[in-house]
Symmetry: C2
Subunit: 549 residues, 2 copies
């Protein structure tokens, strides 16, 4: 069948009932989930606000009764607080719950945005300079006070809030853009600069921050680097390990690591900054970063396809890489079930009329819209002509592009519609990527846990994610908490991933949520070597304790 | 002036007399240089064969009399040799200069290709597997035998040959491609695979190795990663820190670090592999790598310009990034003097008739040649119309493209025409990149060292390099060795770079050549932290001693 008869502009096919939040700054908020589900996470870039009323958040120390406060850490005294106030030279830079009642003020720093993790801190310090961070760390190290570095507090694994009474070192006051070189595209800024502020600044200079995610309105670039955030632009611009050129950080003993290079190349010794990228604040506090920012692409196209099998999805991905090549900026996967649930939960039409077992979303970004459209059309003719893709639509303007993105970005929120969701952020080699969803569904079905009516705890087993990065989000939406579901899922999912040398946390990090499961993705040798690094940089273990490895 | 009257196809303007070696596999060989010049290096991708007769190579121990053999290392005995033969299970995997005379066979492993560094090793071992590397390292560590890991031995700073009697651990027998995934583009291979072999293999699969350099016919991919090689594709594909997904390495104590991930994303702990990228074999031996390979671009264009100032060069670079954007694959700088010397030494015409203080070479690589040509033409019209560029030519076919590349790649060899060359591989922020060349020339001129006739030691001071990466090659071609030149250059050049927080080794690494100068690019704190890492992984110091930091 010919291309022209199948691919019609989205406007003539269907109007989506809802606009996505892509590109709009929102503070991610509550999602419904089982409080006891230690593996539940969501995606940073798909976090949607759900304005449920305030609900008491369970303390992490209660959810994880096996974790005990380490008695080696000192308890904070009014004398400590006074020292911090003197050190920071400002009363307002300290939220003091020790010598006065600051419960109201301090709670936002104790709990994460998912309302899933909650600590008992009585002290928040907000340094205004790298030198102040250095003094704070040295004081804490000398006095055996545990510390949690905190950026925008938008993480998904409980890494940025205390477990017990660790001091919160919040970077929000360190929010200055230090420099931008329009010739090289090198941007240098404090760790506490909000991602969206950085990206808006760069947009004015026709550049782009090489990272994008849903929490951009709140998250800090320092936190992004500390957690090695993945997000939407990784397929095109690569990971932070390649883009971050320099880091300024403070070690537990107060040493300032001045590796804030503004050079693209510098082969003079071990690239130590890499240890802080994805180090989740366990060996030091990142206070500033230097990052290479590419040119911003003026032309953006979005297409949405229905496909008949995962083999066809792989073929489409290969063709997209081949034909769209340098302009391909996203290749996202949604299975049929995820789209069906989206349709039911949102009471909306989908862009395509037929039903397909798989859907993909493709985005192109380039410097010339005519060229990009031509490349995209040629690609579409090919994949339609070869029957790799069965049907598809292309957005005709920014609104339609956002509508198509909503079919991908609306999935995580949708899945919470029935109650709670078991969520896994995984990576396995691409050819086996979807097999896990099928096998998990088969297993839960065989155990009589999945069904259409309320007698079954599980609504369905769905898969979606960043196909281009081989990053699958396996999600199990449920109607109610049922211990049998958890038992059927774990360790089954982790063992499945382990057998394929996959990752049990592709982009979300370890924090407290995945700490216990690292053994599924890393050998004993690797874990031993990692512990060596932790001990080297933080011999007292004061940095973000009870988490990571 | 209009575009069409200025930019004419190169075929109608001039035929270059000589073809470059770009894309052709050559083993880089001798270049003339002052034996005593510790800072002299050249660029890996511009190395040309110069078939001078064999010349005695000075021992490194004589060139650097201040370096003494560390008595803590054992001297190799026939018993050691026997153990290695037993361990490797093969006589041929060991070149034994201890229990028998193997001078002839062993010399190529003792000396570097520049004939500048030469060690005294009496033993070369060639393991065939990671397990054998592990056994060798454990044996050496237990017996305090120093080791130099050696790949293709094409390095530029003496890092891959022994200084004294260190054992050479040569990876050439570990040369298997392990896997390639056409969907994800992830390539896994032994460290000893030759770069060109890897790239040819990938070319058949329509992919490209994200690194290219002149020594590709000899260098090993393991060595490329160990030295964090830069080369020609960095502007487009980024550094190895972003592209290398996994590493298998052996630590000095024999531990196999199995971090050979085939995943693009894996946020489970510290990214330890990064320490081996650019670690120059000082903390372990890389035995295999996993790397993300992009699609190969079928369309390639090359243009060559004359410009009137370095400000115009910067403007042209900014416009190229802006307008050529996703298809820009190289932006190389050559100053007028470098092109003039090329003309004189090679007795050839240059592509442009006029003389300009600056020249640039631009390459585009994309998936659609019509689109790329249109983008390039629009760019050319703009930069000509705005008088950013004064004149230029565009290659019309592969041969002409290579001819244009020869004007850039021919420079390093050309500069040796008069005798020796002082060479510096530097990076400073782009706006100041060329200023160093002017100031160095002024200084040498003021000291009466530069002139056109034979009474002056210095022929000229020239600059060229990877403009897109802010990587300058400052070169001082000389007629004869003169202590006054060396005194005028150093520490002047290093101090100039240090003042601008630049790098004294942008892409060549430290090895033995730059070891003494790291303090100009790294703070005492950074050096201390690097030494900590070295001591952690190699407490006996047996790995590649006397070099790096």
């Amino acid at each position: 069948m010919s291309f022209s008869s199948r691919i019609t502009p989205i406007a003539r096919r269907v109007r989506l009932s809802q606009c996505s939040s892509k590109g709009i700054s929102i503070r991610p908020m509550t999602q419904i989930r089982w409080a006891g589900n230690t593996s539940a996470t969501t995606e940073p870039h798909t976090a949607k606000a759900k304005t449920s009323g305030p609900k008491e958040i369970k303390f992490t120390s209660e959810s994880y009764p096996e974790i005990k406060r380490d008695p080696k850490f000192s308890e904070i005294t009014p004398e400590h607080v006074k020292s911090f106030k003197d050190l920071l030279g400002s009363e307002s830079a300290v939220i003091d719950g020790v010598s006065q009642d600051a419960t109201e003020d301090i709670e936002p720093f104790n709990a994460d945005w998912m309302r899933k993790y909650r600590g008992h801190t009585k002290l928040v310090v907000k340094p205004g300079s790298t030198e102040q961070v250095s003094k704070i760390m040295k004081y804490c190290n000398d006095n055996m006070l545990a510390v949690v570095p905190q950026g925008g507090n938008t993480g998904l694994v409980g890494g940025s809030v205390p477990v017990f009474d660790e001091i919160v070192l919040n970077l929000s006051r360190m929010n200055k853009i230090r420099s931008f070189d329009e010739v090289s595209g090198i941007f240098v800024a404090d760790a506490g600069v909000i991602l969206e502020v950085a990206d808006n600044f760069l947009a004015e200079k026709k550049h782009i921050f090489p990272l994008d995610l849903g929490a951009k309105g709140s998250c800090h670039i320092g936190g992004n680097v500390a957690t090695n955030a993945g997000g939407l632009r990784l397929l095109r611009y690569g990971s932070l390990h390649g883009n971050v050129l320099g880091i300024e950080a403070v070690l537990p003993d107060g040493t300032i690591v001045d590796d804030l290079s503004k050079l693209r190349k510098n082969n003079t010794g071990y690239d130590l900054k890499q240890l802080f990228i994805g180090g989740e604040g366990t060996i030091g506090v990142i206070t500033a970063i230097s990052i290479l920012c590419p040119q911003r692409s003026p032309a953006v196209n979005v297409a949405y396809f229905g496909l008949e099998s995962f083999e066809k999805v792989q073929m489409a991905f290969r063709e997209a890489k081949n034909q769209l090549s340098e302009i391909l900026s996203a290749f996202e996967l949604m299975d049929g079930r995820s789209q069906k649930l989206l349709k039911i939960a949102k009471e909306r039409k989908l862009p395509l009329e037929g039903e397909y077992p798989f859907y993909c979303l493709i985005e192109t970004s380039g410097s010339n819209s005519d060229h990009d459209s031509e490349k995209l059309n040629t690609f579409l003719e090919h994949v339609m002509g070869e029957e790799i893709v069965k049907d598809g639509v292309v957005g005709q303007d920014q609104t339609q592009n956002l509508d198509l993105w909503a079919c991908r970005e609306g999935v995580p929120e949708t899945l919470g519609h029935w109650g709670g969701v078991y969520k896994y952020d995984l990576s396995v080699p691409i050819e086996e990527l979807y097999q896990l969803v099928d096998e998990t569904r088969e297993k839960l079905t065989a155990e009589g846990l999945v069904g259409d009516d309320d007698s079954y705890p599980v609504v369905d087993v769905v898969g979606y994610g960043h196909m281009g990065d081989a990053n699958l989000h396996l999600n199990v939406p449920t109607r109610r908490f049922d211990k049998a579901v958890e038992k059927a899922l774990e360790p089954f999912v982790y063992e499945w991933v382990q057998k394929r040398n996959g990752s049990i946390s592709a982009e979300h990090g370890l924090g407290i949520a995945k700490k216990a499961f690292i053994g599924y993705s890393r050998s004993e040798t690797m874990i031993r070597l990692m512990k060596q690094i932790k001990d080297l940089y933080d011999p007292n273990g004061i940095m973000n304790p009870y988490k990571y490895i």
